[in-house]
């Protein structure tokens, strides 16, 4: 585990409210204090103290940012593509559409694979969720939700339930059943309650917990059974558009990206924002961890995808091209992490070489913007969802 980020979270009574809970270690005027996440939030909402003005606080934050950049710059100076020069180039890929899943009546907004490597769940603007066996093109389950724009959907690790959320400000879990005549929508259970739309959701390692991101600027961890809020994550100053769980076994961190152009890494136990990256110049539409868990990529409306190293705490690569002017809506890595698939609003999917930084190929086929790309759990195929009402499987 020493090759993964590991944080020692402290537990115990909070310095201000006295309740025993996971603590955030923060520094106020260079003094370390241990507050629980609720008290930190309360502190952040306090008004200006005596001797502080808005300008002085702003100046202080600018100074701290500059210091941070200096510290980052002190790290050794070898660029990624220099080291990657010795690596041989990726051979020409012949990726083609192998399946086209037709059946949605409106834009497909989200897709997720099942752990069995062949089933997918997709959600669309018309309020429908369809579970497909992508291999045979069978539609196995269909759920109609009362709200339109179901922007997030996720398959449970066991394969026996799906989670979905969108403009209804909720994220619900629907248990799947083999009985075809059963109305699955009746068994739907509302788990997450936000104050604005739900933009992304994912299960943790089990069916019992759900992590959601929302347009109200927060992410939250919920207990599925009881609907209880286990932890909330505050720090974004605008809508959070995407999140991804770290693939490590300790599985304690996740990254989120939002309209405030920042990508934040969070500790799930304490609710603390561990790291923040803000080199994008426009909304971040999607974030995805590198398979090893110590780096992640982000896709943004500024038509670039960027690659960040968590341990070096900086951006290490930018994937962009003059001819790509439309925003990237989604990214995913191939199994080895060598390829980065990015879906764009100009209806294409670009395949980037993560190490060398060049574009390997483009995948044409969709007739409207690509909203989500996801690589299958065993890396054999790529599924893309698009506003042209279809999903495509590429291999």
């Amino acid at each position: 585990m020493c090759d993964q980020t590991f944080l020692a979270a402290t537990f115990g009574p909070c310095d201000s409210c006295g309740k025993a809970s996971p603590l955030m270690n923060i520094y106020v005027k260079n003094e370390p204090i241990n507050y629980c996440s609720f008290c930190v939030e309360m502190m952040a909402c306090q008004g200006l103290q005596s001797g502080e003005t808005l300008t002085s606080l702003k100046k202080e934050s600018e100074n701290l940012k500059k210091k941070l950049e200096e510290e980052r710059g002190k790290l050794t100076d070898v660029e990624l593509h220099q080291v990657a020069e010795k690596v041989e180039a990726v051979a020409a890929l012949s990726i083609k559409t192998r399946r086209v899943l037709k059946g949605h009546g409106n834009k497909v907004l989200c897709v997720d694979w099942c752990k069995d490597k062949r089933r997918v769940v997709s959600s669309s603007q018309d309020g429908k969720i369809i579970v497909w066996d992508a291999f045979t093109l069978n539609k196995e389950h269909g759920v109609t939700l009362p709200c339109t724009w179901v922007m997030a959907c996720a398959y449970a690790p066991s394969g026996c339930a799906v989670a979905c959320g969108g403009l209804d400000n909720k994220c619900s879990v629907v248990p799947l059943s083999l009985d075809r005549n059963e109305n699955l929508a009746a068994k739907k259970k509302s788990v997450a309650m936000h104050t604005n739309y739900v933009s992304g959701c994912t299960f943790t390692s089990s069916d019992m917990q759900l992590l959601t991101s929302s347009g109200d600027g927060t992410c939250a961890l919920w207990d599925v059974e009881s609907g209880q809020l286990l932890q909330s994550f505050h720090g974004h100053t605008a809508d959070v558009l995407s999140l991804d769980l770290a693939p490590s076994e300790t599985g304690n961190t996740f990254v989120s990206g939002g309209c405030d152009m920042k990508a934040n890494v969070w500790d799930m136990r304490s609710g603390q924002n561990i790291q923040s990256f803000d080199s994008h110049v426009s909304d971040i539409n999607c974030v995805k961890y590198y398979p090893s868990g110590d780096a992640f990529a982000s896709a943004s409306d500024d038509a670039t995808c960027r690659f960040y190293d968590l341990r070096a705490d900086r951006e290490v690569a930018v994937y962009q091209k003059d001819s790509i002017v439309f925003g990237a809506s989604s990214v995913d890595f191939s199994l080895s992490g060598r390829l980065l698939f990015a879906g764009y609003n100009d209806y294409t999917i670009n395949v980037w070489d993560v190490l060398k930084g060049n574009r390997i190929s483009i995948l044409f086929g969709h007739e409207n913007r690509v909203s989500r790309v996801r690589v299958s759990p065993d890396g054999t195929a790529l599924c893309s969802a698009s506003w042209d009402n279809t999903l495509r499987i590429w291999a």
Binding site: M1, F6, F11, A20, S21, P22, G73, T76, D77, V78, E79, Q82, V83, V87, F135, T136, S158, G159, L178, T195, D216, T218, A220, D223, V224, E225, S226, S232, H234, T250, C259, D260, R269, S282, Y290, P291, A295, D301, A303, D309, A312, R314, V316, A317, V318, S323, V325, F326, L335, R338, D346, Y347, T348, G357, I362, E367, G379, T380, I393, A395
Partner: protein, 466 residues
Amino acid sequence: MTIRNALRDHGQRYRPRMSCLRKVEKVLLEMQDPNTGVKSQPQRLVITTIPHAITGEDIVAWLADRFQIEAQEAKNFGSVLVALGYIYPLQDHKRLVIKADASLYPIYLAKRNIRKKGILELHEQEQYNRLHKWMNHKWDFIVMQAKEQYRAAKERKKPDRVVFDCQERAYWVVHRPPVRKHTHTLDLHSFNKALYKCKPFTIYHGRKHYFLPVRCVTDSELFSCRLVKYCATYSGHDPFLSKCLPSNPWLTDDTTYWSLNMPNVEIPSKMRVERWTFSFKELLSDPRGRDDFRLFLKKEFSGENLAFWEGCEDLKWGTAATMKEKAEQIYKTFLARGAPRWINIDGKTMEITVKGLKHPHRYVLDAAQTHIYMLMKKDSYGRYLKSPVFKDTMKKATNPEEHKFNDSQLEQNARNRRPSLSPIVIRQQEQEQRAKMAANAPVDITQVMSKLSKQSKEVPPRPPNK
């Protein structure tokens, strides 16, 4: 409910996602440059001459040259420009717009009706009829407006009129596409031959430059080496980079690859066993690998470490309701003095854990779990890889031959696609199996005694003998 953040930047209202359009406008400005832009010429259309028309072919060629990209990509880029309305076609309009609330659209339709003397396209006709019904009260006004516009247009010069007409049609096409699946498709066949014109507009000056210089930001050499090493290690296992053995199911419609790699298959494949050697995390995350490791630990009489780790995972990710009991159970089984499966952790960790257990929460066993994980990783994992259990598994591992299907076989495979067992069924089977195993498991006498004592309190009074 989540706490509202006091500072919120309503990005969508104050800063719409228009940065891509600014870039597009920049490109279009370049295209209109008389010296370096796309070649334009006056084009004859029926009997009129349209100035500054450009052909689709020229657009594609210019884009390909400007950005050094392939023709197909240039075509795609060009078609998106048309879809956004920056370039509009002079012939061959395929779509029309539908706007039901304002009267601009009905005026436009009425005008066209007058000009074409009652011959409108089918969907236009439908819309015209619908709007006529809905806006009957304003219809006189609409028809009057249409007549006025038509009369005014007649007084313009013919080329201007045609251009204006095309602009208007394109405007409605973009702003009110018809109710159809593909709203922004472009007939790529006719794209090259069709004639286009660029919409004149002004670009903002002094705007932030959005094209960032391509710079790979400096990073630690250690990170780059790690990354390169990771990619190199896994590239043989990446189906996009190297061949799947026996074959990628999506390519050949043959699911052997998946059946050979089922989670609980008896004999794993060589590639799968190789992955277990990459890291401890890989070994534990593969159920078959974990089983193998468990077998090894059983032989070494240190199986309680893995069992404890699994118990902690169950606690962390489990449902909140049963959390307290689970924590207690784990403590009794693994940590308490004289516990049946006592694990060996250092004094400090034990102290922290016991203290935390006074107010159990889901992360209370984190410190102990980490300690045990590191122990297994540094000690047991290394020995496992050298053990006869692993060597045996490695020897027995299958190495399937690559499939070589000819075309007719591939077609047959495609016809024979079969559905697989639903995960729901698989879970039911697992639950049944677990119940069976629990029924046959060695009985823990303390549990039986406590259960009996509980039962005796609940047993109803015996019915009288008949």
